[in-house]
């Protein structure tokens, strides 16, 4: 599949400090690509360079073969940008905002009207389109913020943490809308420090920390990097005797078993497969179970594994 964006050794230096340090990645047409990393990882600086807002110190990126350095206007025609902040005029209505931004993207007349109606429908705010933005809830503002990015029918939609400060319900709405747009063929570059969002939306992910990409690949590829062990945590009502440990090790095919009074922690390769056997074993020994927790490796644990710190640090 054709690459829509190719980033090569992109670097941005501010006062001697490397905000982005020689990053490279590609995004294929129709793909949803995630840039995951904690605050200060360099995600927004990367997006700003790709949106032609700030020039890179070195390196380059091409969007549909147009250089962000040499052909910024051409690049801007091909991308829709949804900034981290709600960049709308609060005293104008949603529709007035969309008309203004559409005109800035070069739309006019009937095409503009159709496009405004279309994006309002996508974000589900047709009914409230005549209300002023300052009357909107945070989630609704975010949705209009995204709608603006969709106006130019972009080849690539770039979203910089678009759900910051949004309630869970609105977040789900936004993510589902984006998922649908992606399914319909829109290429997405999505940055977030929320692991669940990236897991939900993105096919491939680049993990950033301190300006560098420390890992990238499909979600499965990245999980493998984190280590193969699933973690089973079982809390019991009755005491678990130490001598049961050996039997559990046999059943779960691992040596990584810790027993402490009324808790068992098992690290195994196939957590879901061995769990029923362990439950059966505990039942046979008249040990009542209080709770069971299965933890499979995810991007959060990958980040922890690679950097020694949590994503939200």
């Amino acid at each position: 599949m054709m690459n829509i964006i190719e980033v090569k050794e992109l670097t941005k230096v501010y006062s001697g400090r490397k905000a982005v340090d020689s990053i490279s990645f590609e995004i294929k047409k129709g793909e949803a690509f995630g840039l995951l990393g904690p605050n200060g990882a360099g995600k927004t600086t990367t997006i700003s360079m790709l949106s032609c807002l700030i020039p890179p110190t070195s390196g380059d990126a091409h969007i549909e073969e147009k250089s962000i350095i040499k052909e910024p206007i051409e690049v801007k025609k091909r991308i829709g940008v949804v900034p981290q902040d709600i960049a709308l005029y609060p005293t104008l209505s949603a529709k007035e905002n969309l008309f203004f931004w559409g005109e800035m993207y070069g739309l006019s007349g009937r095409r503009l009207k159709e496009k405004v109606d279309e994006v309002l429908q996508v974000v589900g705010l047709t009914e409230r389109s005549k209300d002023r933005i300052n009357k909107y809830s945070g989630g609704m503002k975010r949705r209009i913020n995204i709608a603006v990015g969709l106006l130019p029918s972009p080849k690539l939609l770039v979203l910089d943490e678009p759900t910051v400060g949004v309630d869970p319900q609105s977040r789900t709405n936004i993510l589902e809308s984006l998922k649908k747009l992606n399914k319909d063929g829109l290429t997405i570059l999505y940055t977030s420090h929320y692991m669940e969002e990236v897991e939900f939306l993105c096919d491939r992910v680049a993990v950033m920390d301190l300006g560098s990409i420390i890992a990238q690949g499909t979600q499965n590829e990245l999980r493998l990097l984190a280590g193969k062990m699933d973690s089973l945590k079982i809390a019991t009502i009755d005491e678990v005797k130490e001598n049961l440990g050996e039997t559990i090790k046999k059943v779960s095919e691992t040596d990584e078993v810790k027993i402490a009074d009324r808790a068992i922690e098992i690290l195994t390769l196939q957590g879901r497969k061995v769990l029923p056997k362990i439950i059966e074993l505990l039942g046979n020994n008249s040990i009542r179970i209080k709770s069971v927790e299965v933890e499979e490796p995810n991007l959060e644990s990958l980040f922890l594994h690679l950097t020694g710190k949590e994503l939200r640090d």
Binding site: K76, K77, I79, V81, I86, F100, M104
Partner: protein, 407 residues
């Protein structure tokens, strides 16, 4: 070009929806024009006020005649000083106590005779303490008169002394010649002259309402352009400027759009002030519609440039919000917004010519009172456009240097 226009129109739309802007940019100047026009109207009429006085003339001689007829009755003072002749000092005291007159003048018996023979004499001025300014005016006029008389008496005394000492004249003849000489001195020139000269001669005097419609209207253009310039910072704060930059819009278009917005906001405000004052305050802005349009455009351009420069020199919305109104007030007053700058002391009059307000006010007043049409305002328009060019160039240069590029 289209995007410049769209950005400007958007700024006007946003400003129009801001109720505080409506109050600040439209209601305030209109209210100020009304209040100032009404309060200061007496100062703007050709006879700013009249002074009622009473005179008890016991003398009836040569010098009292000069004071009453040639000084109080002079062309310059006759419309201001209303004289009532009375028959006693008590009557004057009574009138003053009742507040019916501002001052009373009592010219003693043989006042003129005493002057002629070189004896001491006096004129009494009784003033109403509650009309201290008017009474003071009368006192000053009488003092000036007596000073002039004294001066002439000294001239006469010295001359006569020399003539007698050199035996050129018989002392017996002196008594006969004094009135003749005095009369001849009198013919040389008026005793007291009020200087009628002003820097500008208007065909008629402006009415307060009309003057303040121009003065305040012009002053508030700067308020409006400052409000427009604030939108540059608002766009930054709202992150919308950054977003415009992610669209295929050039920096030139963004800057052009912002400047067009500044111009448009001020233009609409001033046009509304002109219409409102014309219809509701009956202000006559002159017969030359083209002249008014040209003056309006050039004034708004000059102030737009000034605000652009101000925006380039300030660092935040708060800064421009604090400095802008102060600058507008200083320029407004210094440029003649409250009182004609041509009446300022020499140095201040000169300084006022560095403000766009001065040229804008002068231009509009020419259209209103000289009826000269477009040709008469060429110097003012030229200076305003020159100011606009300088301010815009500096402002745009600085804005681009520090980045409407957006940091």
């Amino acid at each position: 070009m289209r995007k410049i226009f769209l950005i400007g129109i958007k700024d006007v739309k946003i400003r129009a929806r801001d109720s505080s802007s409506f109050i600040m940019l439209l209601a305030m100047p209109l209210l100020l024009i009304l209040v100032l026009g009404m309060v200061f109207q007496p100062l703007w009429t050709s006879t700013p006020f009249t002074i009622d006085i009473a005179v008890f003339d016991e003398d009836g001689g040569e010098f009292s005649k000069i004071l009453l007829e040639e000084v109080f009755g002079s062309e310059q003072l006759k419309n201001m000083i209303k004289i009532k002749y009375v028959d006693s000092e008590e009557e004057i005291i009574n009138e003053v106590n009742k507040g019916k007159i501002a001052a009373g003048v009592i010219i003693g018996e043989e006042f003129s005779q005493a002057i002629m023979i070189g004896e001491n004499t006096r004129i009494k001025v009784l003033g109403d303490p509650e009309q201290i300014i008017k009474a003071g005016v009368i006192k000053n006029i009488v003092e000036a008169f007596t000073l002039e008389v004294l001066k002439r008496r000294i001239i006469l005394g010295t001359s006569m002394g020399i003539l007698v000492a050199k035996n050129l004249i018989n002392p017996a003849e002196i008594q006969r010649l004094i009135p003749v000489w005095l009369s001849e001195i009198e013919n040389i020139g008026k005793l007291i002259q009020v200087d009628k000269k002003t820097e500008k001669r208007m065909d008629k005097n402006p009415l307060a309402m009309e003057y303040y419609a121009v003065g305040m209207g012009v002053m508030y253009i700067l308020f409006a352009t400052n409000a427009g310039a604030e939108t540059i910072f608002q766009e930054r704060r709202n992150k919308t400027l950054e977003r415009i930059k992610t669209a295929p819009v050039s920096e030139r278009e963004i800057l052009g759009g912002k400047l067009f917005g500044i111009f448009l906001i001020a233009l609409l405000q001033f046009v509304m002030i002109v219409f409102f004052t014309r219809i509701f305050y009956r202000v006559n802005w002159g017969d030359s519609i083209l002249g008014i349009i040209i003056m309006t455009l050039s004034s708004v351009l000059a102030f737009s440039g000034l605000s652009t420069l101000l925006a380039s020199l300030t660092k935040s919305e708060e800064q421009i919000g604090n400095i802008g109104p102060a600058l507008a007030m200083i320029f407004g007053f210094m440029g003649g917004g409250m009182w004609p700058a041509s009446n300022f002391p020499g140095w201040l009059n000169m300084v006022s010519k560095f403000t766009p307000n001065r040229w804008a006010i002068d231009g509009f007043l020419k259209l209103m009172y000289q009826g000269g049409g477009v040709v008469s305002i060429i110097p003012e328009v030229f200076v305003l456009l020159f100011m606009a060019a300088v301010f815009f160039s500096l402002g745009v240069f600085r804005l681009r240097a520090k980045g409407v590029k957006i940091d």
